[in-house]
């Protein structure tokens, strides 16, 4: 009898090796992301730390004078860090309430056809490139701010006029930019609240508004907190939109001062910085990266907490 060459087990060996190769390739793909995060962390640390030894940690983080090009350069970024924190906080303070209210509007009180128009529009807002926000900030917001500034500081000769490029302008741009994130995520959190809660509350005689604020919002808490944390992440990492709006002076973050954020410091000077100056900019990048990692860990913890709640 001839050897069967078309047995169903005949090409088994060949198939097995293909199977093996496929599974190995997919595994490698999956580790690509892990590899990326690790190499980004390592590279940020490697390129961010030399300046710390060179200039001194205390001088960088707590120094208040940023003069990288002076004869005796000084690399203090205390005000820059402070600006990022204060700016983000203010943007959250403005953006989050408006965002949550809009989310309530979309999920609860809006007439259906209106919500059907507004929701895609909010999604569109999330996709607009950040430079466009910057462009509008420079052309619309800054002139208005300048007028307000002129009116307020008319009689104070010590004030350094900024032409409207100040902390407040940047904060407003950031607040508008985090709106879509906050609206989208809070809205889906509100919609995810079980109908029984709402029905029970209404049946007990609570008004719709009472139900929203006493029952639905507390039930949607974890989703809303996630929205806020994501908003913080977006605000603290935004660079291009505010780099021309904020004015870029390394000053104390007061509303009408020209200020410099961690991100805008890098954008503004990276292209011409050399030696120590450049290394300090990488340290700024490292600090920013550290902020983001902390935010991410908080977010991760919270998501897990939310899942436990759902169970």
């Amino acid at each position: 009898m001839n050897k069967m060459s078309f047995s169903i087990i005949g090409s088994n060996k060949n198939k097995k090796s293909i199977e093996k190769a496929a599974s190995i390739i997919f595994t490698i793909c999956a580790f690509f992301g892990v590899l990326a995060v690790f190499s980004i962390s390592i590279y940020m640390i490697v390129s961010g730390t030399p300046a710390i030894f060179e200039v001194g940690l205390k001088e960088i983080i707590f120094g208040t004078v940023w003069k990288p090009n002076a004869a005796y350069p000084s690399y203090g970024i205390f005000y820059v860090i402070l600006t990022s924190i204060v700016g983000t906080f203010m943007a959250i303070l403005i953006g989050v309430p408006i965002g949550i209210m809009t989310a309530i509007f979309l999920a609860e009180t809006a007439p259906k056809p209106l919500a059907a128009i507004v929701k895609p529009a909010v999604e569109l807002l999330a996709g607009i490139p950040s430079v466009i926000y910057g462009l509008l900030g420079v052309l619309i917001l800054n002139p208005i701010m300048y007028k307000i500034e002129l009116a307020i500081f008319k009689d104070s000769p010590n004030h350094q006029f900024t032409g409207g490029s100040n902390l407040l302008s940047a904060v407003i741009v950031l607040a508008i930019m985090i709106l879509p994130t906050v609206i989208n995520i809070s809205e889906s959190a509100i919609r995810a609240v079980q109908k029984d809660y709402k029905q029970a509350s209404l049946a007990l005689g609570a008004t719709h508004i009472q139900t929203i604020f006493r029952v639905i919002l507390p039930a949607a808490k974890s989703g809303i907190v996630t929205a806020i944390v994501l908003g913080v992440g977006r605000a603290i990492g935004e660079a291009m939109a505010i780099s021309l709006v904020a004015g870029n002076g390394a000053n104390i973050p007061l509303p009408f001062n020209s200020v410099r954020f961690l991100t805008t410091a890098v954008v503004a000077e990276m292209s011409y910085a050399t030696d120590t100056h450049k290394r300090v900019l990488f340290t700024i990048g490292l600090i920013l990266f550290a902020f983001i990692v902390i935010i991410n860990i908080i977010l991760n913890k919270m998501m897990k907490g939310g899942n436990v709640d759902a169970k």
Binding site: A30, F105, T109, P129, V131, Q210, M240, L288, L299
Partner: protein, 295 residues
């Protein structure tokens, strides 16, 4: 008998009215902002748009501006980024959904994917500049920019593919395996075609992200507005990959810096149209996906 506590008497609650007004106020503020932003860009930008603006490069001699070079650069970056990122992203999703056993490893991969999507683009820009630009010696080039963007869009593609794979019913898998298909054959002929709309949605969202990205590209792909030279056999088109080139957003940022606001608004309008198109395309695709899921 007077009865103000009757069930049929609604007690007026002034605080309800205040809250209601507040909700409507905030919502209309958001809507006005939205309409205002889109409307203003369209109003200012549309006057800059002309055939010449879209199809030529800036010429100092003729005193004209054009963004053809930037459009081509943007296309280059989109294509190269997708060529690198899509296989890795889809492969990673297949591993997570089909091969991996739940455990620490999967959690590590999912955590890093999430971290990757949270890192601000300026940090990606710094990393891309040091790693791809300096360490790998690619300098300011379209390839450096594309490699940096690969890292940014990887989570987007992985997550969308994963979602799509999850919607494929398990009966498809067991059916295919039951009649003797191997796993890879099953993935290739059953899973991937079923998950295709989800993968395409991921790709389109990625294109949106690439088009809008600026901070990550400023120090990686640099700026440049010239069209690639064709060369004798078209080799110039490939050389372009290793040359610097600014995308539309970079050119917008640069013209903003130089206070050339008309050009800036022209580019902003083009970007807005692209974003709108991408938005509608994803809407269409996801509605198609939902219909298929229901049937």
């Amino acid at each position: 008998m007077q009865n103000n506590n009757s069930l049929y008497h609604k007690k007026a609650r002034p605080i309800d009215k205040v809250a209601h007004t507040l909700i409507y106020l905030c919502a209309s503020l958001s809507i006005i902002l939205l309409v205002g932003i889109v409307g203003y860009v369209a109003y200012r930008g549309i006057s800059s748009i002309s055939w010449e603006f879209l199809t030529t490069v800036p010429s100092a001699l003729k005193q004209t501006v054009g963004i053809a070079g930037n459009i081509v650069n943007t296309l280059y970056i989109i294509i190269i980024t997708l060529i690198i990122a899509v296989p890795f992203g889809v492969g990673s999703a297949i591993y997570l959904n089909e091969y991996a056993k739940h455990g620490r490893l999967v959690r590590l991969i999912e955590f890093t994917t999430e971290t990757l999507s949270g890192i601000p683009s300026i940090v990606f820009g710094l990393f891309g500049y040091v790693f791809f630009g300096v360490t790998l010696g690619l300098g300011y080039s379209i390839l450096t920019g594309a490699l940096t963007l690969t890292l940014i869009i990887l989570p987007l593609i992985t997550r969308n593919t994963q979602e799509a794979l999850k919607t494929v019913p398990d009966s498809y898998r067991s059916g295919a395996l039951g009649i003797g298909a191997t796993k890879w054959y099953m993935i290739r002929t059953i899973l991937l075609p079923s998950a295709m709309p989800g993968i395409i949605t991921g790709i389109i969202l990625s294109i949106g992200r690439i088009v809008g990205e600026s901070a990550a590209l400023l120090f990686t792909s640099g700026s440049g507005y010239l069209l690639p030279k064709f060369g004798e056999y078209g080799e110039g088109l490939f050389k372009k990959i290793l040359q610097p080139g600014g995308t539309l957003t970079i050119e917008l940022y640069l013209s903003m810096e130089k206070a050339k606001y008309d050009t800036a608004f022209g580019i902003a309008f083009v970007l807005l149209v692209i974003v709108l198109g991408i938005n509608m395309l994803t809407k269409y695709l996801s509605s198609k996906l939902n219909v298929e899921k229901k049937s």
